[in-house]
Symmetry: C2
Subunit: 199 residues, 2 copies
Amino acid sequence: MAAGEGEIEALVAMMARLPGLGPRSARRAVLHLLRRREVLMAPLAELMGRIAATARDCTRCGNLATGELCTICADPARATGELCVVEQVSDLWAMERAGAFRGRYHVLGGTLSALDALGPEELGIPRMVARLGAEGISEVILALDATVEGQTTAHYIAGLLAGAGVTVSSLAQGVPVGGELDYLDEGTILAALRARHRV
Amino acid sequence: MAAGEGEIEALVAMMARLPGLGPRSARRAVLHLLRRREVLMAPLAELMGRIAATARDCTRCGNLATGELCTICADPARATGELCVVEQVSDLWAMERAGAFRGRYHVLGGTLSALDALGPEELGIPRMVARLGAEGISEVILALDATVEGQTTAHYIAGLLAGAGVTVSSLAQGVPVGGELDYLDEGTILAALRARHRV
């Protein structure tokens, strides 16, 4: 190792905790940074520090924000009466990349899990229900993962909102665009078959 | 995206430039950091900034250092008369992890390449030759990659040191420990066969 080897090893260990990186790739990444100390490492550290210091959770929807509200909640043009419920901020980003939804979000931060002691309160579900009247929501779109956990949570929310006077919908399941049947699991093919439509 | 979305996107773009990360995994890594702002993101930024500000190249061997000399060059116990020539700091780390070499290093920072305008001067080879007398080196161990570029550079250095009164050696080639013949390339098997020894 090098001089300052303790610090460099500590940096490697921290980087190795990031998803997609292990000890070996973290070491390669740190060496890459060390070779580009002025043009990459220092600016990256500065930007990361600034974001860490200013980022917070939107008090309304749970999205990342720099102030009280995130840009989506603060944007009056997005008060469309549609609320999209997602598990994670990454899912919100994925929805935004698709560019098809113009309403607002509610980020649960996870799925119902007895094991992890995540109940409706921890996921901010009462807070979400309170938003329905306050923001004049007419449709709640459940954009949760097509996993057992995601669908269990979706089922719970749908049950909770039955009779609340809002439409509750869910993302369609089917063959992904560009998907090859040969590589799809049976569950997806079954879902796509059940949801088939006339052409 | 979130509030401060421009900055977060900039961070994702920077992280995506690290080896082993692409746009998608960089986004996952940044979200992971954002969820652990106080316990991971802020300390990581702080440590990275400190290292970027203090790390420099050892003026003698090219290893990473915090002062004029790296810990290895500054350690009198490592003046063993053996000098190990490596391409990159990562190779030096790999040698140190193996723990079998107790001498000092010379980091070339690359291999001879007309394409990249890397000649002997750029790789610090004259500086390495000057060290031989100054540090009383009796053996130069060429620990360069077993690639065409690495071996071309090794061949050049070996030629340069012929008649310089030092032993020049090179890492052995053969079957890696735990290696399965079935998965090895023909070149390695051929090299291992040629270097076979009685048991």
